[in-house]
């Protein structure tokens, strides 16, 4: 009797702790942002007229919200352009990450267990430095008088007085995102590749497949769950990335993070900024829902 109750309490704790976490750090902030997105901007503290108003002594709030902020997003092509721009940039950066990370993960998974730990450490190590510091270090490398241009000048490849403009270009942004998010791609890839049964590769070779054929027909399909997980881990934060394009990119990259910043800080229009954030979430949730049902992500490939 007592034993059964203790198991019941333990189970409730296990279930409710993550639930509580989600309510506190996802649902509650989401509800606040959604509420602000339905409100009207005004000059006050805070600078909006709430959509939900509690009447004196009443229990049920009165709804005085508006969908104008969402309508506004549809009227101005700026917002759609920024969403598409962000998705394009995040997509390219994710592909670059995958190209760099796959061979790395493969090498780590195939090396001796002792070396493996060292190599994994080397992948994770940059995470120990603040990402902002790493981006500033990249600025030092890429700036007109920076290491890269000095090195190229010293090698005689460029005229030192006419350095190549690396900073404030798309190249710098892709480099920055790939550099920052690489571990997020390497680790899930490594996890699936490491579990790969070597006897399958031997069987493939015995049956006459070339090295490339084995990779293409056996290794790659079996590592798809890792590829998908890595791509999602990189793609989703990259879409909303603000710091890297702001520090390394040029002014002509229209990104949703930047647009959100402008709405919030320059226009001090918190409701429209919130609507931009909610719309971005919707943009990201839809592809995720599609992928969620794919067998590869569930590891049934």
């Amino acid at each position: 009797m007592t034993g059964a109750r203790r198991i019941g309490a333990g189970r409730a704790l296990v279930i409710w702790l993550p639930m509580l976490w989600l309510i506190l750090f996802f649902l509650l902030p989401f509800a606040i942002v959604a509420h602000v997105s339905l409100s009207e901007a005004t000059i006050a503290m805070p600078p909006y007229r709430p959509a939900l108003v509690w009447p004196e002594g009443g229990w049920l709030p009165e709804y005085r919200g508006t969908l104008d902020n969402y309508r506004f997003l549809l009227e101005d092509p700026l917002y759609l352009g920024a969403y598409l721009g962000s998705i394009r940039m995040a997509g390219i950066a994710t592909a670059l990450c995958l190209l760099v990370a796959y061979p790395m993960a493969y090498l780590i998974a195939r090396s001796a267990p002792a070396t493996r730990i060292v190599l994994l450490m080397l992948v994770v190590l940059p995470f120990w430095t603040s990402s902002l510091l790493r981006i500033y270090a990249l600025i030092g490398v890429l700036s007109p008088n920076g290491f890269l241009n000095s090195a190229l000048g010293w090698l005689g490849l460029i005229d030192p007085d006419r350095p190549i403009q690396f900073l404030q270009t798309d190249f710098a942004v892709y480099l920055g995102i790939t550099f920052t998010y690489l571990p997020l791609m390497v680790l899930p890839l490594y996890a699936t590749l490491e579990k790969l049964d070597p006897s399958l590769l031997e069987a493939s070779a015995d049956l006459g497949a070339s090295a490339f054929g084995t990779f293409w027909q056996v290794t790659l399909p079996l590592s798809l769950p890792g590829v998908l997980a890595g791509c999602l881990l990189v793609f989703i934060p990259a879409v909303g990335e603000f710091v890297i394009p702001a520090l390394l990119g040029g002014p002509d990259q229209l990104m949703i993070g930047r647009v959100l910043w402008t709405e919030f800080f320059n226009n001090r229009d918190w409701p429209v900024a919130s609507a931009v954030a909610i719309a971005m979430l919707a943009f990201l949730v839809v592809p995720f829902m599609i992928l969620r049902n794919s067998p590869a992500l569930r590891g049934e490939g």
Binding site: L28, A31, I32, A41, I43, A44, M45, P46, P47, L52, W54, W59, L60, P61, D76, L78, G81, S143, P144, N145, R162, Q165, Q168, G250, P251, D252, Q253, L254, V259, T262, F264, F265, N266, N267, R268, D269
Partner: protein, 362 residues
């Protein structure tokens, strides 16, 4: 859910400000904007601890002020932002009986600032300056020759001139309310106009030169000018002088000059004010009064190379600074300075939308 939200809000309130009886003062000021020892002197004299935080844009300060419960006791918004924040109810009225040093302030400059804060009831001028052009003397001469238009906004707003400087680096402030009026002024329009078509004409001019602009940023140019990474920056007077000083210290042969163009420039005031919810309002008054001491404010000016509005401090200001027309403009130049117009929400949106267009080029 409603109760839950309220409980969460109350918890956030309790966690926010530091308890009022602590001898602590929380100051939020612009980056690179105070002398090395000002804070230490205040701490020593009043036996308190000062938490000194910095920002580099009015927008960041404003977002914190409008959210409320920032925990700061003294903040330093620029005049036009100050006015809107006063309208939103952010600041308390100053208790002038606690500010005897107000007698040191220049009446004319305080009257100018009263355009934003009627009767100077909420704020006192900390420093003031202009938005002009900083440039690398040697590199500009190398590209444009001896007759370079270094006394004119043409240096950055004439597409033909800007094209010649592009590879060496032109930067603009990421401040639409300063850049658009400057462009309008160059076109012969009223820089204080709030008419949509005037903003559009200004934006059109900026669109023509934007292919030659390397970036839009409000503090990055200080070090880039000093290192010789960029050639011409639209910038704030004292920041350009800091770039000049850093280049001198580094001894890298880079010579930076600041000019208030002949067409005129924006004059702004950074104002000390106390948020209504400041946890230590008495100490905040002491701090503002302390800054208004002639020696203290003169020392800050000597350090940051921004003009102050404290007439009693001027005899103590370094003559090199006092006689520098880029910092304390001549009477002739003063006549061509303009003060920022205050925009309503609709105008803000127009200005920022045009600015996004200018920055992205689409």
């Amino acid at each position: 859910m409603g109760n839950f939200l309220r409980t969460a809000a109350v918890m956030a309130l309790l966690a926010g400000p530091v308890a009022a009886q602590d001898r602590v003062l929380n100051v939020y000021n612009w980056s690179d904007y105070i002398a090395e020892d000002t804070i230490a002197k205040f701490e020593a004299r009043f036996g308190v601890k000062v938490n000194y935080d910095v920002y580099d844009s009015n927008e960041v300060l404003e977002a914190k002020m409008l959210a409320g419960n920032s925990g700061y006791d003294v903040v330093v918004p620029t005049s036009d932002f100050l006015r809107r924040q006063i309208a939103a109810g952010v600041y308390m009225e100053l208790d002038k009986s606690k500010l005897p040093n107000l007698k040191n302030m220049d009446p004319q400059l305080m009257a100018n600032a009263a355009a934003y804060d009627p009767g100077n009831r909420h704020a006192v001028i900390y420093m003031w300056g202009t938005t002009g052009i900083g440039y690398n003397v040697a590199k500009v001469r190398e590209r444009l020759g001896e007759d370079a238009p270094t006394n004119s906004w043409a240096l950055v707003f004439d597409p033909a001139v800007a094209a010649k400087l592009a590879d060496c680096g032109i930067t603009f402030l990421d401040a639409p309310t300063e850049m658009l009026p400057a462009a309008m002024n160059y076109l012969g329009l009223d820089p204080r106009s709030t008419a949509r078509e005037d903003f559009e004409k200004g934006a059109e001019l900026l669109m023509k030169v934007r292919p030659h602009v390397r970036y839009f940023h409000s503090s990055q140019y200080i070090s880039d000018l000093a290192n010789g990474d960029v050639c011409v920056s639209v910038g704030w007077s004292g920041d350009v002088f800091q770039a000049q000083a850093r280049a001198e210290e580094a001894g890298n042969g880079v010579e930076i000059a600041y000019v208030i163009p002949d067409e005129g420039a924006l004059q702004w005031f950074d104002m000390m004010a106390i948020p209504k919810d400041a946890p230590h309002p008495d100490l905040a008054h002491e701090f503002i009064n302390f800054i208004m001491e002639p020696e203290i404010t003169a020392y800050i000016t000597n350090y940051v190379w921004y003009a102050n509005a404290n007439a009693a401090s001027w005899p103590l200001v370094d003559p090199e600074i006092l006689n520098n027309p880029g910092i304390f403009p001549t009477e002739k130049a003063k006549a061509r300075l303009w003060a920022a117009a205050v925009y309503d929400a609709r105008t803000d949106r127009i200005v920022n939308r045009l600015w996004t267009q200018v920055k992205t080029g689409q």
